[in-house]
Amino acid sequence: MQGIVMRGISKEFDGKWALRDIDLSVEKGTIHAIIGENGAGKSTLMNILSGALIPNTGTIQLDGKPITLRNPQDASNCGIGIVYQHFMLIPMLKVWQNAILGIEPVRKNRSIDKQAAMRMLKKACDDYGIALNLEQVVGTLTVGEQQRVEILKVMIRNASFIIFDEPTSVLTPQEIETLLANIKTLKQMGKTILFISHKLEEVLEIADRITVLRQGNLIGTLEREEADTETLVSMMVGREVNTGGLPMKVAPGDALLTVTDLCTERTRYSGGLDHVCFTLHEGEVLGVAGVDGNGQSELVEALLGLCKATGSVKKSGDEMIGLSGAGIRAKGIAVIPPDRQAQGLVLGNPILNNLIMGCENSGRLGRHGSLRKKSMIRTSLDLAREYDVRMPALEAHASELSGGNQQKVILAREFGLRESDLIIAMNPTRGLDIGAIEFVYEQIEKQKAQKKAILLISTELSEILRLSDRIAVLYKGRVIRIVDRETASVEQLGMLMAGVLAREENGDEKTE
């Protein structure tokens, strides 16, 4: 058969099957989507096809011939190209320089033949309908354009088989449309596409066939005609779930946090915050929606005193700008950081240490700066039990926990141990499975019921809609609109996130 055939592929990590006995056939000239929740094995499968991982068992055939992929070069030589989720680009180089990196056409004297390179790139751009200014510096491009540079890179390496790894997760709705159009063009040019995603709408729009993975197992492959959202969701999660739902109703109290004209410095690759204003009340969840990279991390860091900021942040009347990070946290703020492994936990430390980190001086664990072992063990065991942390032992390192249990450690510490009346949560369910996501939502609403004020910053619109009473949209470092959950619609929020409405309104103001 023409195309790629994988038979009996298994991959094991530390005694756990990341992939188990996968049989997958990708027919030449089609768009084949692979969907599944985070942790279903999509990335592992892609890494096996790209040569980055070697499977424990199984064979791969390309156009009927068996191949072995020992490293990414092997894959590249076989005509397999990958557009990574995290771009592999050098920001200070120009588009054409990035594109030819590693396969530079050279003149006889070993200098780079720019004319030849430009000819090759222009032809590729024309053939595949990729709109790019080849002379522009990559660092100044939008995320969507950077992705096109990645696609261009793959095309000039003569890949006939292209893997897209979660390509839409960083794009605005409008950029997604352009990307999907590009992918369709590639198919018409005879390329074979493997499209990895967890967003069903996109998959249903472009795929010819859809394969569903769940916890390392292949659940089934459907033709496009047989597939609809309900079938795919039930295949992905294995049970009926309701990811919809509305936020719990709690009567909001007084204003707790007032942010006025909060600005951070512009850096080379980020615009910083631009006069952000909002008010957060007790017993309220304020969702901050936006496409990743529009100032979310800057907002968290500015509020926590981890980066330089100007303006005013008043919590119960006390000014927090100018205080140190430790001083701000002492005012009673619980935090769920965006990246639990880098910012939330010390992976190389025992679970016990992680459960009490930041609260070690709270007086519950000892006195006069010393710590009592008994108190530490009792406190952390109680927390682990209350928040249902499944762990081998308290002394085991945090790195030995699954993602969901790592997040539970953070929840236990921030909600169970820390004294707080304000919670700042950023992407609190990133990378978790449905069960863990529901647990996190439940815990956040429990805190809300206790009249705590919650700032939820998330790039998942469904999460924002599920939890928030009001929704602020962050675009290019500015809060461009705050809408009530009851009147908000996905379409309106999508337009705001893409900056479309903001631009129109600015235009209106000028004409007035």
Binding site: A330, P337, Q343, G344, G366
Partner: protein
């Protein structure tokens, strides 16, 4: 899940790695000796056993180990916070000179007061020497490895200059006058170098062990040292922590210099250190940043240092071979550490059964 004490397993594996590295190094070192036509067993007797059977030898070993305990511990304090204080050598010299100068200039003080002033002076000087690179790191993000190495040159040369031009004992080699009796650390058995500094070093090691396992400060250092960002996010003032651990590290390295000035020699001589500061870094790595481990490894290094001299006198084996042996131990420990890290901190993992419902 079966209950097992993971901490006990980790401690066991750490000791296992250091012991295995030592034995492997002896094996490879022995092969080198064989190639030179020497009998390794004889060499090892002179190196490792001979010094330990006589009281005189034992005292010499302890004397050689004492400054290494201080520098090893100083390195451990900084490394635990993930700050690489390569400046121990300079901080040691600074402490040695301050102690010696205070020791011979202040007259008419009772011993307890005189010694207290010397201790305070040395520790403050050492801490200030370490403060400069720590401040540069926190304020401007300058990497401490570069600044501390540069500080070593600046401080040790400045101190030689100070001794030669201002504090020199007339007519002698470039050294200060003897310190007064009120500033001497009691020697156990003159003229051997062992003195009360050894006891102070041992006590400090146990104290540091307690600090790291049972105090808020130690807890914060353990967190920040392994993940600075997470520590910051959890509300720990990491900048202050870096400055405090660096200053403590400098102060303890300075005490190592004080021990030489007031205890072992009674004066401070230019270029007296054969690299105690640098040896401290190696000791800290071999001891896997454990203060009690530092004690053991420093004693072992003291043994090899004196045993090496012994070996050199009794056989034709060159003294450099002992440095090779130390290097081998260091290399094997580093390899072992990497191995341990890859296995998530546990050396022998039971073969895990693959379960159907692995999540």
């Amino acid at each position: 899940m079966k209950k097992q004490n993971k901490n006990a397993i980790r401690t066991r594996d750490s000791i296992l790695i250091v012991a295995a590295s030592f034995l492997l190094a002896l094996l490879v070192g022995g092969l080198i000796l064989l190639l030179q036509g020497e009998n390794p067993l004889v060499a090892y007797r002179y190196l490792l056993i001979d010094p330990l059977v006589s009281k005189n030898g034992l005292l010499k070993v302890l004397g050689k180990a004492t400054p290494l305990i201080f520098t090893g511990l100083a390195a451990t304090l900084a490394f635990r916070c993930n700050v690489f204080n390569i400046g121990l050598e300079g901080q040691l010299y600074a402490g040695a000179l301050t102690a010696a100068v205070l020791g011979y200039t202040l007259q008419g003080l009772p011993a307890w007061l005189h010694l207290s002033i010397c201790f305070a002076g040395a520790m403050i000087t050492g801490a200030l020497c370490a403060l400069i690179p720590a401040w540069l790191k926190v304020k401007f993000g300058v990497h401490e490895v570069i600044t501390t190495i540069m500080m070593n040159y600046i401080i040790s040369n400045m101190i030689s200059m100070l001794v030669i031009n201002y504090f020199r004992n007339p007519g002698e080699t470039a050294r200060t006058p003897y310190v007064l009796d009120t500033a001497r650390l009691t020697q156990f058995k003159a003229p051997e170098q062992v003195n009360t500094g050894l006891i102070i070093g041992v006590v400090l090691c146990f104290a540091a062990y307690w600090v790291f396992s049972r105090t808020v400060f130690g807890f914060r250092v353990n967190s920040a040292g392994k993940n600075l960002v997470a520590a910051r996010y959890s509300g720990i003032n990491a900048d202050r922590l870096i400055i405090v651990t660096m200053m403590l590290s400098g102060a303890i390295a300075a005490l190592g210099g004080l021990e030489r000035s007031l205890g072992a020699f009674g004066y401070m001589e230019v270029n007296f250190s054969p690299g105690f500061g640098y040896d401290g870094l190696a000791i800290c790595i071999i001891a896997r940043m454990n203060p009690l481990g530092v004690l053991v490894v420093a004693l072992l290094m003291g043994l090899m240092s004196y045993g090496g001299l012994n070996l050199n006198i009794m056989t034709a084996v060159p003294i450099e071979w002992v440095r090779v042996l130390t290097g081998l131990i260091f290399a094997f420990v580093v390899i072992g550490n990497t191995l341990l890290e890859r296995r998530g901190g546990v050396l022998f993992r039971k073969k895990v059964l693959l379960k159907e419902d692995a999540v």
